[in-house]
């Protein structure tokens, strides 16, 4: 009987300890809320500086355009394939997304004439906020774009490629 009482006391202690952990964990404050907002618009810390550079680029772009040679061709499939392969080499889709046919993530990207990424944002912010798997997939896609910067694109055709939407589609990836 004594042994039993001791045992149940021990168990009670154990249970209390476990509850303690749980209660404390409930306190864990995720800062995701703030982060979600931020994720919608990831910019480099030197955003102002970049934008300033942008101004001069745009101006020189405009100048270029006025005396642009008419021989500039539309951006071609092989040039886009190069970008696609470059980004694919940086994309590590999360395990939960691999093979999924409804987890395509669109990332909106603004570029500088040298191909570097000045802005990259997740388009579907509603789904980002609501779904854990989509969030992991979107973060991985965002990392791929940022890691791939600068993108290998022909400077003379900058007017055609200053903005992209990259669709990261994991359905054909097995993991």
């Amino acid at each position: 009987m004594n042994e039993l009482a001791q045992q149940s006391q021990q168990d009670k202690k154990r249970e209390e300890a476990a509850n303690g952990v749980l209660q404390n964990l409930a306190k864990i404050q995720k800062t995701k809320e703030a982060e979600k907002k931020q994720a919608q618009k990831v910019k480099k810390q030197d955003a102002q500086q970049k934008v300033a550079t942008n101004v001069s680029n745009v101006i020189s772009g405009v100048q270029q355009k006025t005396d642009a040679k008419p021989s500039i061709e539309p951006i071609g499939i092989s040039e886009l394939d190069r970008v696609r392969m470059h980004i694919a080499s940086k994309w590590n889709p999360p395990p939960a997304a691999a093979g999924a046919d409804k987890l395509k993530v669109d990332i909106y990207v603004r570029l500088e004439p040298d191909g570097s990424v000045t802005e990259a944002s997740i388009v579907d912010t509603k789904r980002y906020d609501a779904n854990k798997t989509y969030r992991a997939a979107a973060n991985a896609a965002l990392r791929a774009v940022l890691d791939a910067s600068p993108l290998p694109l022909p400077r003379e055709k900058y007017d055609q490629w200053r903005e992209f939407i990259f669709g990261f589609d994991p359905r054909f990836i097995s993991r």
Partner: protein, 448 residues
């Protein structure tokens, strides 16, 4: 919080400027669309810094915590961690934004920084921040406190956070394993129920070893364990209350009962009942004690396992001449054979994700652990051995645990039995260290 508002402010300033600029942009500039359909499949590189004390120096508990988290993540096969010796500037506090220029060269995608120390009251205080090194922002953070006994558990929970943020899957580190611990010679084998964390720590025995025990299974809340206990050489299903250590026999039926498993809602037990040479599958309502017979055949129907929604049951039966897998509805109707490969099939277990079924397969004396789709298609074998048996799923359906026995040599050596786990990709097989031989593992649901 301060760091957030600063970054946000800078971002907003940039946005305002670019809106002004857009006026000057050439009118024909358009947004190109490009789909990326291939990528790299590789473990996610991550840096886990030793958790520090208030003085910024790693603490003993902080080193332990970092090690547990790192071991968890690496064991999943989805992460690789960078040796802390390679860190350019070891972080000294989770409250300080890291200089990402120190972390980008290491090629890591994530950086976990935390503090952990024992306060004056003897409580362990923990805080952590998980950083996305490439996007240069924090992904998640948290804080908590516990007594020192809670160190491992809290570490597993932090590892769960990291796992979920990077994989998009639910995690499984804060879980336990119940299994049968075996000792003694083959003819006088002592078998006891034992429970431990999924990484093998916090091991303890649940039964004395007086009676032979088999096939423990967790209830959906992990409070109870259903298992088979041989009392007076007769096997019957028992329930064990994990917290109180109390056991009781389930019902009192003619014949023997075995192969128990809980229904997904925990309200029923499904099991085999053998009487007069026939073994059929029954469901027992745990509240009303009402027993319903689900199969009626002169054959041996056993190892039943519910689908996660409770609507179907997979089991094995020799009704077709050899032991094969069958699926039926929860009320026993619409029995359909699903296994058609070479050999015999046993111990089917429905994945918590619902899409696939794990099993043991025996072909020409060789044993395999495999998975197949719930209609029997797409069979894949993940592990093989002299004897491998009894798969059990991690609660996220990404990892299987099972037991493996080595052949016994003529001189009586060998024959060790141990627990192993493997990814559902068939990679990353690893042994779980236990104090003695181990068989019949069952993985708990996520405890939190």
């Amino acid at each position: 919080m301060i760091r957030h508002s600063l970054i946000m402010m800078m971002a907003w300033m940039g946005l305002a400027l670019s809106m002004l600029l857009s006026v000057f942009l050439p009118a024909h500039a358009q947004t190109l669309r490009l789909d990326i359909t291939s990528g790299q499949v590789a473990p996610i590189p991550i840096a886990i810094a030793d958790f520090t004390g208030p003085d910024g120096v790693p603490t003993n508990v902080g080193r332990q915590i970092a090690q547990i988290i790192s071991d968890d993540l690496i064991s999943s096969g989805q992460f690789k961690s960078v040796d802390s010796a390679a860190f350019i500037t070891p972080p000294d506090s989770p409250d300080i934004r890291p200089d990402f220029n120190d972390w980008v060269p290491l090629g890591v995608q994530g950086l976990l920084v935390g503090s952990a120390y024992i306060d004056d009251g003897g409580a362990l205080q923990i805080e952590f921040v998980l950083w996305d090194v490439v996007a240069q922002r924090d992904i998640t953070s948290g804080e908590g406190s516990t007594d020192e006994n809670g160190l491992r558990r809290l570490s597993h929970q932090i590892a769960d956070f990291v796992y979920e943020e990077f994989t998009g899957d639910s995690a499984y580190f804060d879980t336990q394993i119940v299994y049968v611990s075996e000792s003694g010679p083959a003819d006088r084998r002592i078998k006891r129920l034992a429970i431990m964390d999924q990484d093998g720590h916090n091991h303890r025995f649940l039964t004395s070893g007086n009676d032979l025990v088999l096939t423990p299974r967790f209830s959906p809340q992990a409070h109870e364990i259903a298992y088979v206990n041989y009392f007076n050489d007769e096997p019957n299903v028992y329930l064990l209350d994990v917290a109180l250590g109390r056991t009781e026999r389930v019902g009192s039926f003619p014949g023997m009962t075995f192969a128990p498993r809980f229904s997904p809602d925990g309200d029923a037990l499904i099991m085999s009942l053998a009487e007069d040479g026939a073994t059929d599958i029954f469901a027992l309502d745990l509240k009303t004690q009402q027993l319903s017979q689900l199969t009626r055949s002169p054959s041996i129907d056993t190892s039943p396992s519910y689908s996660p929604d409770g609507s179907q049951i997979v089991f094995n039966s020799d009704r077709g001449g050899s032991q094969q897998l069958y699926v039926m509805s929860e009320n026993g109707r619409g029995v359909q054979r699903i296994s058609y490969g070479e050999g015999r099939y046993a111990t089917p277990v429905w994945s918590p994700r619902g899409d696939i079924i794990a099993f043991t397969k025996i072909v020409r004396g060789e044993f395999f652990i495999g998975v197949m789709n719930k209609d029997g298609s797409g069979e894949r074998l993940l592990a093989r051995g002299y004897l491998v048996e009894g798969p059990t799923w991690a609660p996220n359906g990404r990892v299987l645990m099972y037991f493996k026995q080595e052949p016994r040599e003529a001189d009586g050596s060998g024959g060790e039995v141990a627990l192993y786990r493997v990814d559902i990709t068939g990679f990353n097989e690893s042994r779980i260290i236990t104090p003695a031989d181990a068989s019949d593992p069952a993985w708990s649901p996520l405890l939190r």
